[in-house]
């Protein structure tokens, strides 16, 4: 694919390559005026129709990114306000609140120690023996899972 630098940016090319990385290997070359992109399907049995579709998907993702940049820049003041506001509010201040004084009392510490002791005892009494870690529950999903 020849992509004019007067339309597309390197950022869009890079992000699109990452987004489609499970389906294609992307090889990039460039001249002064254009990006030269070669897409290699990861599925070895991909025919002409599938290759044409992959090229189309890559083109769509490029447009997705370029237009997202435009919209993002247009609304940047408002979205920056929202993002900053929500993150700052959620943080709850620069320094975390101190633990409540009531948790430092001997009574509270004894309560917690008793809770833990009783819980451990119940686990030992009622639960099946713990086995060593067996690894990730599921292997990574195959690309053609039908979604």
């Amino acid at each position: 694919m020849i992509l004019s630098k007067k339309i597309y940016s390197m950022d869009a090319v890079r992000i699109s390559a990452q987004v489609l990385s499970s389906k294609v290997n992307v090889y990039l070359d460039e001249t002064k005026t254009a990006f030269e992109v070669t897409l290699e399907a990861k599925r070895k049995d991909a025919g002409p129709e599938q290759l044409a579709a992959l090229e189309g998907e890559f083109g769509n993702e490029l447009l997705n990114q370029e237009y997202r940049f435009i919209v993002g820049r247009f609304n940047s003041k408002i979205s920056a306000l929202i993002v900053t506001q929500t993150l700052m509010a959620a943080r709850g201040g620069e320094t975390p609140a101190a633990a409540p004084a009531a948790e430092s009392t001997p009574e509270f510490k004894k309560l917690v120690a008793d809770l833990m002791k009783n819980a451990e005892a119940e686990v030992a009494r009622t639960m099946p023996r713990k086995i060593p870690h067996q690894g990730t529950p599921l292997p990574p999903i195959k690309e053609d899972a039908g979604v």
């Binding site: 004019s4 007067k6 339309i7 579709a53 998907e57 997705n64 306000l81 929202i82």
Partner: protein, 191 residues
């Protein structure tokens, strides 16, 4: 002598569609392509319209985003939609995108201002408006066209009935003996 400064409204206005010559798409058996002058149509509307086609088409762009962009549209399912239909849909979306973007650009400073005001209200820097100042909830939006028509019909029936009652009053009391002072004043005023 000072010359008066001419004020101009620089807010972008959407041009009525008929004033711009409609772009003519080039059609092949598998693809439609439309060449668009960016100065006439605007970059954001062109990309916006192209973007909206992505559910049914593979979209390619070529050219120069400061001068002319050629939008290529290839149907994802060629049996379901033909290139001509893709081009028509794209051009319809383009006209609407021009309006959407014009409204957005006209109002961006206002949206930004209100967003800032919201932060100041929420953080207690400025007071929120009192509840009494809030706009009353108009009921009309809840009414369908049929309901509005029904209400107007009822109102005109009631008005007609009131008129009939008034006419009857005059018939049974021609000298207005039973009429109150206020009613007499109203009748004299009307005359």
């Amino acid at each position: 002598m000072k010359t008066k400064k001419k004020t101009t409204n620089n807010a972008p206005r959407a041009v009525a569609p008929q004033l711009l010559a409609a772009p003519v798409p080039k059609l092949s058996s598998s693809e439609a392509s439309v060449s668009l002058d960016i100065k006439a149509h605007g970059l954001e509307p062109v990309l916006g319209a192209a973007y909206l086609m992505m559910d049914k088409a593979f979209v390619s762009l070529s050219g120069d985003r400061t001068k002319t962009i050629v939008v290529g549209l290839r149907a994802k399912d060629p049996k379901a939609v033909k290139p001509k239909a893709l081009a028509a849909e794209f051009l319809a979306d383009l006209e609407t995108q021009k309006v959407r973007w014009a409204v957005a650009k006209n109002n961006l400073p206002i949206r930004e201002f209100i967003a800032e005001q919201a932060v100041l209200i929420a953080n207690g820097t400025i007071p929120a408006p009192s509840p009494a100042a809030a706009a009353p909830e108009p009921a009309a939006e809840q009414l369908t066209d049929d309901q509005r028509a029904e209400i107007e019909k009822l109102i005109s029936e009631v008005e007609a009935e009131i008129k009939t009652m008034n006419d009857k009053k005059i018939a049974t009391d021609p000298k207005g003996v039973k009429a109150s002072w206020e009613e007499k004043q109203e009748q004299e005023h009307k005359a």
